[in-house]
């Protein structure tokens, strides 16, 4: 009997669901981690999926109850889990901090009233970006970004791009060779590039997105008072480690002739001037992240995108019309976490890649015009290339 059973079970591997190929999924660690690192990666993965309940500190006001409910499968979110930030329209700071700003916690556990948007507050909506390959972006040295920047458009190509010098919380550890200016540091995470590193972004997410306090962000969004940590410090470190070691999306169909042609067009029409194809990391204590070339298709810089994308709201020292170039790696896999539909740009307003391109204004208007001059077949090649990322 046991024999029959064993034969049946092992013989039946064929009727078991097959593993999706590594290039088709965003989840999974970077290559070369040690066993100890893999264990921490798995812990962080589980914590990223933890569902908060009122018993574990959710809210009382919040936006969502799980990192993974916004960043489904580590990919892009949908408008369902978008959130609203409000209260700041210029570089002079958020004037609505006493009215619940900067983030609207529009949900509440039963029995509580969620936050209402104060009248007249400038605002924007944001959908979750994918969280893949962030360890590489985090390990790029400041000097590399400064070299990409051209704040005064000295080369006269109409594309400037500047780093976001912002004030940073005291709990972050500076990355090696950081280049501060007047007490401000180069920040690179978030759609306005306002967060310094993954610890900053993660502690903020627990606090602002889920109403979960920590050692790093101890102020409860509901009462405005400092309360006991609702998530452990180790948990936060594990999640940060997970984000750092989540692999970069693997490009697909790179040998396809349309994809190759599309890639050339991408350079020709200046998309690559902001969506920088290659970057280089500096030293990282995580060996597989150290001194590596990688291909994120972002420069991590702020660009003025014109009135088309100006919602009248901003953060830190960015302008309301400025957005950080989003990485385009994984673009072709976005639909997999967005319910089979594209939602692109900061608030998901573009329902296709074509629409996203048409919304590029400001510094990118020239690149958009060049795109519009392409013939249909070239446009398709470009989009095929973008979908292969």
């Amino acid at each position: 009997m046991v024999f029959v059973l064993v034969t049946i079970t092992y013989g039946c591997k064929k009727i078991m669901p097959s593993e999706p190929s590594e290039a088709e999924v965003l989840d999974g660690p970077i290559d070369g981690l040690t066993t100890a690192q893999l264990i921490q990666f798995n812990k962080g993965d589980a914590d990223f999926g933890e569902v908060f309940t009122s018993a574990t500190g959710l809210g009382p006001i919040f936006v969502a109850n799980q990192c993974a409910s916004c960043h489904a499968g580590d990919g892009k979110g949908t408008p369902f889990v978008q959130f609203t930030r409000f209260g700041q329209s210029d570089t002079l700071g958020n004037t609505f901090l006493n009215f619940g700003g900067p983030q609207l916690q529009h949900k509440a556990i039963p029995g509580y009233t969620p936050e209402q948007l104060p009248l007249g507050a400038p605002k924007t909506s944001l959908i979750a970006p994918a969280v893949t390959g962030l360890g590489f972006l985090d390990a790029v040295e400041d000097a590399f970004l400064l070299a990409l920047a051209d704040p005064f458009d000295l080369d006269g190509d109409g594309i400037s791009g500047r780093v976001h010098y912002n004030v940073i919380p005291s709990y972050v550890a500076l990355r090696p060779n950081s280049i501060p200016k007047n007490g401000k540091y180069i920040c690179r995470f978030g759609k306005k590039g306002g967060a310094y590193d993954l610890l900053h972004q993660t502690s903020g997410a627990y606090n602002q997105d889920m109403g979960i306090t920590s050692l790093f962000e101890p102020i409860d969004v509901y009462s405005g008072q400092e309360i006991d940590p609702e998530v452990g410090t180790q948990t936060i470190h594990d999640v940060v480690f997970y984000l750092k070691t989540l692999k970069a999306p693997i490009p697909r169909n790179q040998q396809d002739s349309d994809v190759i042609a599309g890639k050339n067009l991408f350079n020709d029409i200046n998309c690559a001037k902001c969506h920088t194809p290659s970057m280089q990391t500096g030293y990282s204590p995580i060996a597989p992240l150290s001194y590596k070339e990688f291909h994120p298709y972002t420069d991590l810089l702020l660009h003025d995108m014109g009135s088309e994308l100006n919602d009248g709201y901003t953060e830190g020292f960015a302008l309301a019309s400025e957005w950080k170039t989003p990485a385009l790696w994984g673009l072709g896999l976005s639909k997999m976490s967005q319910g089979g539909q594209y939602y692109l740009m900061h608030d998901g307003r573009a329902l296709s890649i074509e629409q996203a391109i048409q919304m590029h204004g400001g510094e990118a208007s020239q690149s958009r015009s060049l795109y519009n001059q392409l013939i249909e077949n070239q446009k398709n090649q470009l989009i095929k290339f973008l979908e292969s990322l």
């Binding site: 078991m16 669901p17 969502a64 409910s69 949908t78 556990i109 509580y112 009233t113 997999m336």
Partner: protein, 414 residues
């Protein structure tokens, strides 16, 4: 609850000790009588608690019984398998006693997954006033759907319990309370009713780690055997009708306020209801022996609209089993052995509706199919080989996972 288990386990140990010596000599003296299950077909799902094989010992006023289920499982989700494991799903013991004329008692104690979960499924006293009017009080099984009432492992060809019954409805779901039931028959027809007031659900049904409206979450609250969390009883009731030639059809309802709206006299929330509607049926085609069993349920639950839509306010689920005996004869020494093929179809939508933000449909669904082969040396013992494949979507309708498992196991009354 602790104390319940304590007293119960003491009782059981006591009874076992009384019984063992009798067992020892049972062979020669025929002190143990097997009471077979009622085969007169006058039974409805509601009779399942008493419609079980019991062992009765001469001069001992109690009858005992029980069943055991165990299996091996090899499963894989998206190509990742944890290998082969063995599961002792549950061991259930029940005992009944006729206390006096028209008064009887039955208790059922269940150990799930080894000793991880120990619970009293049922412990109630029944007083018969008329056939149409019986009183039942204690820990009773809420009569919602058919599976909750009639869930003994050996009765089913499938190792897994139906998703609709255990992943959406909270089977097996029992609570402290009391109520009335009755039954009547005329010609080929049998009709019965049940209605109970019991303790019920709590806030965890919309505040749990599964991140979905999940009635079974309330099962973890053992306090429900001690007190209601809001002082408002859960009403559950069922009417069932059966034609001996056609089959049985049941309609059931369960509903009440589930949340704690008052704390220390202070109103902390509005009263929020949940209502469950179920229909179940079973039928055997005489000629071919084909047996059908199925159930569908719809849940309507008041979730505050300022709360996350992750928790749905409507749910629907259904399952249907088809069992076809292919051999029914003496096999080896077993007089009434049978070999069956069977299939189950499961469907659950944990979140019916559309997102406020995008007006797109909410997913969070599972579909499974389970082909099966079962061998029954007798009707009270089943050996089963199941293959189950399921597709899950997350709330955005992204494909969440595909899983499959092969299970082999047995379930038997003793």
């Amino acid at each position: 609850m602790r104390t319940y288990i304590y007293t119960m386990s003491k009782l059981i140990i006591l009874v076992t000790f009384m019984v063992i010596p009798i067992f020892g000599s049972a062979q020669e003296e025929k002190i143990v009588n097997r009471i077979p299950t009622d085969s007169t077909q006058n039974n409805l799902n509601m009779d399942a608690v008493y419609d079980r094989p019991f062992l009765k010992f001469k001069k001992v006023p109690v009858a005992i019984g029980g069943y055991l289920e165990a299996n091996s499982i090899y499963s894989s989700t998206d190509g990742v398998s944890e290998g082969l494991s063995f599961q002792a799903r549950r061991f259930t013991m029940f005992m009944s006693a006729s206390i006096y004329n028209r008064i009887k008692f039955l208790a059922e104690l269940e150990f799930e997954d080894g000793t991880k979960e120990i619970g009293i499924e049922f412990a109630a006293m029944d007083i018969t006033l008329f056939p149409l009017l019986n009183f039942r009080g204690g820990i009773v099984m809420n009569p919602i759907g058919g599976f909750n009432q009639n869930h003994d492992g050996p009765k089913w060809e499938f190792i897994e319990r139906p998703d609709e019954a255990v992943q959406m409805l909270p089977a097996t779901w029992s609570n402290v309370g009391f109520g009335l039931y009755g039954k009547t028959h005329f010609g080929n027809w049998i009709a019965g009713y049940e209605v109970y007031l019991t303790n019920g659900f709590d806030d965890s049904v919309i505040d749990n780690e599964l991140n979905k409206t999940y009635l079974p979450a309330a099962k973890l609250n053992r306090n429900r055997f001690e007190e209601s969390n809001n002082g408002i009883p859960l009403i559950s009731g069922k009417v069932a009708i059966k034609n001996r030639k056609i089959g049985e059809l049941g309609f059931s309802y369960m509903g009440g306020v589930y949340n704690t709206f008052k704390m220390e006299g202070l109103i902390v929330d509005s009263k929020r209801r949940l209502d469950v509607f179920s229909i179940d049926f079973n039928s055997t085609i005489k000629k071919s022996g084909t047996y059908f069993d199925g159930e569908a349920s719809y849940i309507l639950i008041d979730v505050p609209n300022t709360y996350t839509q992750q928790y749905g306010n409507q749910q629907f689920g259904a399952f249907i089993d088809i069992v076809q005996p292919i051999i029914r004869r003496k096999i080896l020494d077993w007089e009434n052995a049978s070999l069956n093929i069977a299939a189950r179809f499961d469907y659950v939508d944990w979140n019916i509706g559309t997102f406020n933000e995008s007006n797109t449909n909410i997913g969070d669904q599972r579909i499974s199919i389970t082909p099966a082969i079962s061998f029954r040396p007798s009707s009270q013992t089943v050996l089963r080989l199941n293959y189950r494949y399921s597709w899950d979507t997350d709330i955005f309708f992204n494909e969440k996972s595909r899983s499959a498992s092969i299970m082999f196991g047995f379930s038997t009354y003793f």
